[in-house]
C-alpha cells in the first residue's frame, strides 16, 4: 500500500466500507494531493519544522504484530484495543449495551450507525485543515466509535488503547464520540509504543460531539516511542449547557503537534481544557489551542502545564476567539512551563480575538526554572536534589494530574515522570 488513491480504495474495501465513507476518503485524498507541505512561512508552522518528515517512508500500515498482550484493565466499563492499524478487541459492559450504549470500531459503526457517522465523521476534524489532517482523513485505519444515549450515566471510564511496536509504518487511529443529551461519562485514549521503537508516522485524532447538558471527560494520553512523528487534532463541539473536561497528556514522540479545540455552540456550554506535557532529550512538542465562543454565556478554562529538560523544545500557541454575539462569556487561558535545563526552550504565544466587549477574559504565560528557594527549602530538610526536583515537578503537575479520571492513566504518567527525573 502507499499514500495513493489505490491505497485509499484498498483500506475501504478491506473494511467493506459503505460508499459514502469511500467518497469521504477520496475527497480527503484530493485535498492531501492538492495541499503543499506546510512551510515556515505559514504562521502556524513558523516554529515547527516538518522539513525532515518524509511521509512516503512510512506509507505501510502497521499490522497486528508481535507485541505482548495488553495488561487487563480493571475498573472500566468498556475497552477498545487496537494493535497497529487493526482492532484487536472491543468489550462493553452488557448492561450498558442494553441501555443503548454503542462501542464499536468505526469500520463497523459506519455500517451499523450510518445516520450518526455519515453526518458527523470528519466534520470537526476536517481534511481541509492541512496536509496532515487530510492524510489522516483519507487513510485513517480504524478507531473507536462511542455513542452514549440521552440521559445515560456511566460511572466507570471507557478506555481505548492503541499499541504500536513496529516503527517504519503509519498508525492512524481515529476516535468519534457522540454524547446524548444529559449523558455523563469519561473516555480515555491511550497511544502507546515502546520508547525505542523506530521512527514512524502516527496520528490519533478525536472528534467529540456533546449534546445538550452532556457532561464528558476526555483524556488523550500520548506516549508513542521517542522517534515517532505525531500529528493529531482533538476537537469538541458543545451544545447548550454541555460541559467538557478534556486532558491532553503528551509524553512521547520525537515530534508532536497537537491541536486542541473546543467549539462552544450552545448557551451555557463550558469547556475545561487541560494539558500535561513533559519534553526530554530532543523532543519537540507543538500545541495549538482554540477556545471558540460562538454564542453567549459560555465559559472556557484552559491550563496547559509543561516541563522541559535536556535540549527539548516546546511551542504553545493559544487563541481565544469570542464572536460578536457571544456576550457574557468567560474565557481563561494559562500556559505554564517549568524549564529544568539551560538548553531547553519553551515558547508561549497567547492570542485573543474578541468581538464583544461584555466578556471576561484573562490569559497568562510563564516560562521559568524551578524556584531556587523551593529547591533550597526541600534540600535544607535533607531531601537530595534529584528527589526534591522530582517532588517539585510532580507538585507542579499535581492539580491537573489529580483530576484525570482514571487511576491507570495517572499511574502511567507518574511512572514516566519518575523515570525521567531519576
Amino acid at each position: 500500500m502507499g499514500f495513493t488513491l489505490q491505497g485509499v480504495e484498498e483500506i475501504a474495501s478491506l473494511h467493506g466500507e459503505p460508499d459514502w465513507l469511500l467518497e469521504r476518503r477520496r475527497n480527503a485524498f484530493d485535498v492531501f494531493e492538492r495541499l503543499p507541505m506546510p512551510s515556515r512561512i505559514d504562521e502556524e508552522w513558523r516554529r515547527t519544522d516538518v522539513s525532515g518528515l518524509d511521509m512516503a517512508k512510512f506509507s505501510e500500515f502497521e499490522h497486528r504484530n508481535g507485541a505482548g498482550p495488553a495488561e487487563a484493565l480493571e475498573g472500566v466499563a468498556g475497552t477498545v484495543t487496537m494493535r497497529g492499524s487493526e482492532i484487536e478487541a472491543v468489550r462493553l459492559d452488557p448492561e450498558l449495551a442494553g441501555a443503548g450504549v454503542v462501542l464499536e470500531p468505526i469500520s463497523v459503526a459506519a455500517k451499523t450507525h450510518p445516520e450518526l457517522l455519515e453526518t458527523l465523521l470528519f466534520t470537526q476534524v476536517r481534511a481541509e485543515r492541512d496536509r496532515f489532517a487530510a492524510l489522516h482523513a483519507a487513510f485513517f485505519a480504524d478507531g473507536t466509535f462511542l455513542y452514549v444515549p440521552d440521559g445515560v450515566v456511566i460511572d466507570k471510564p471507557i478506555v481505548g488503547q492503541v499499541f504500536s511496536a513496529e516503527g517504519g509504518t503509519a498508525v492512524l487511529p481515529h476516535t468519534l464520540i457522540v454524547a446524548g443529551r444529559g449523558s455523563r461519562f469519561n473516555y480515555l485514549d491511550e497511544y502507546l509504543s515502546p520508547a525505542d521503537e523506530a521512527a514512524g508516522y502516527k496520528s490519533g485524532s478525536a472528534e467529540l460531539f456533546l449534546g445538550e447538558a452532556a457532561s464528558v471527560g476526555y483524556v488523550a494520553l500520548q506516549k508513542w516511542g521517542r522517534n515517532a512523528w505525531h500529528l493529531a487534532d482533538q476537537r469538541a463541539r458543545l451544545d447548550k449547557d454541555a460541559s467538557l473536561r478534556l486532558f491532553n497528556v503528551t509524553l512521547g514522540a520525537r515530534f508532536s503537534k497537537t491541536r486542541v479545540e473546543a467549539s462552544l455552540q450552545g448557551q451555557g456550554a463550558e469547556a475545561e481544557l487541560k494539558a500535561i506535557y513533559f519534553a526530554s532529550g530532543e523532543q519537540f512538542f507543538d500545541f495549538h489551542t482554540l477556545q471558540d465562543h460562538q454564542v453567549g454565556n459560555t465559559r472556557s478554562d484552559l491550563l496547559f502545564k509543561g516541563a522541559l529538560q535536556d535540549v527539548a523544545r516546546t511551542v504553545y500557541a493559544g487563541l481565544i476567539r469570542i464572536e460578536k454575539g457571544a456576550a457574557r462569556s468567560d474565557a481563561y487561558q494559562a500556559n505554564r512551563n517549568l524549564v529544568l535545563s539551560d538548553h531547553a526552550k519553551a515558547t508561549s504565544i497567547p492570542m485573543l480575538e474578541i468581538d464583544n466587549n461584555d466578556v471576561r477574559c484573562t490569559h497568562g504565560a510563564t516560562v521559568g526554572p524551578v524556584d531556587p528557594q523551593h529547591l533550597f527549602y526541600l534540600r535544607s530538610r535533607g531531601i537530595p536534589e534529584t528527589t526534591a526536583k522530582r517532588m517539585i515537578v510532580q507538585g507542579f503537575f499535581g492539580d491537573v494530574l489529580e483530576r484525570i479520571p482514571f487511576e491507570h492513566a495517572r499511574r502511567l504518567i507518574e511512572t514516566e515522570l519518575e523515570a525521567r527525573l531519576g
Binding site: 531556587p372 527549602y377 535544607s380 530538610r381 531531601i383 536534589e385 517532588m391 517539585i392 507538585g395 507542579f396
Partner: protein, 264 residues
C-alpha cells in the same frame, strides 16, 4: 574541640561583604543566642551555615563531626544533623506537608527508595506526628495542605518547629522564630524547643528581641553588629540589651524590646 565550630566565617551577598569573620563554638547541650539589630547579618549567618546558594562563602570554616560542612550540599548538611528554621518559611505549592515531612524523615534515615527496612512505617510516622502536633497546639488539618500554603505567620513558624521535632537535629539554628508571633505561639514554640533541649542538641537561637529568651533560657548570648560579634557572654547580656537596646553600637540605635503596642 567543640561539637560545632564556626571559625572566622566570612560571607557576602551579591558581591556585598556581610559576615566579616564570625567565630563561635557550640556544644551539644548548649543554647546560644545571637542577637543583633536589623541588617546586622543574622540571616546571612543562618543561610550560610545551611548552604543557601544565594550566599557566597569568602573564608573560614565550619567544623561539625570532623567535616568542614561548608564543602557540603545543603541536603548533606541536613542529613549530617543540621537544621535551620527559616525566618521566612517558603511556600511550595503542589507538595503536601505530609509528603514533605515523610520524605525528609526518610532521607534523614538514609532511605533512598531501595532499602525498605530504613523507611519510616506509616504507623510510626502517624504517632510521631500526633505527639509533636499536640505539643505545638497544631491540628492535623495542616498535613494535607501544601507546604506553608495559606498558613498564617504563626502557623508557618510552628510548622518549622514541627519539622525540627520530627527530624531531630543535633545542631538547630532558629532564625527569628519568634518574630511576628503572638505570646501564645511563642510559648508553644518555646515549650517544644525546651522539650528537645538536652545533651543531644545544640541550639543557635537568632533573635532581634529579648522576649523569646524569657522562655528559652540561653546559656550564652552573642551580639552581632555589622557582620561581627561585638560582645559575647552569659544570659546577663540579654538583660543589658533589654535596657539599652543596641545603642552602645552607635550606628545601630535600635531597642531590643518590643514597644508595648507591638506586643500582640
Amino acid at each position: 574541640m567543640a561539637d560545632f565550630e564556626i571559625k572566622d566565617l566570612r560571607a557576602s551577598v551579591e558581591g556585598k561583604e556581610i559576615l566579616k569573620g564570625v567565630t563561635l563554638a557550640i556544644n551539644k547541650g548548649e543554647v546560644h543566642a545571637v542577637m543583633g539589630p536589623n541588617g546586622s547579618g543574622k540571616s546571612t549567618l543562618s543561610h550560610t551555615l545551611m548552604g543557601h546558594p544565594g550566599y557566597t562563602v569568602d573564608g573560614g570554616e565550619v567544623i561539625f563531626k570532623g567535616q568542614n560542612v561548608l564543602a557540603l550540599e545543603p541536603d548533606e548538611r541536613a542529613r549530617l544533623g543540621m537544621f535551620l528554621a527559616l525566618q521566612y518559611p517558603v511556600v511550595v505549592p503542589g507538595i503536601s506537608m505530609t509528603n514533605f515531612l515523610r520524605t525528609a524523615l526518610n532521607a534523614k534515615r538514609g532511605y533512598d527508595g531501595k532499602d525498605k527496612s530504613k523507611q519510616v512505617t506509616p504507623k510510626e510516622f502517624r504517632s510521631l506526628l500526633k505527639s509533636e502536633l499536640e505539643v505545638l497546639h497544631m491540628d492535623d488539618s495542616f498535613l494535607p495542605r501544601y507546604i506553608n500554603d495559606g498558613f498564617s505567620g504563626g502557623e508557618k513558624k510552628r510548622a518549622e518547629i514541627l519539622q525540627m521535632a520530627i527530624l531531630k537535629p543535633e545542631i538547630a539554628i532558629l532564625d527569628e522564630t519568634d518574630s511576628g508571633l503572638d505570646i501564645d505561639s511563642i510559648k508553644f514554640v518555646a515549650d517544644a524547643v525546651n522539650r528537645m533541649r538536652g545533651p543531644d542538641l545544640g541550639v543557635l537561637i537568632i533573635t532581634h528581641y529579648t522576649r523569646i529568651l524569657q522562655f528559652i533560657k540561653p546559656d550564652f548570648v552573642h551580639v552581632l553588629v555589622d557582620g561581627k560579634f561585638v560582645l559575647s557572654g552569659g544570659p546577663e547580656i540579654a538583660d543589658r540589651l533589654e535596657k539599652t537596646g543596641y545603642s552602645e553600637w552607635a550606628e545601630a540605635d535600635e531597642p531590643a524590646v518590643l514597644k508595648p503596642e507591638e506586643v500582640a
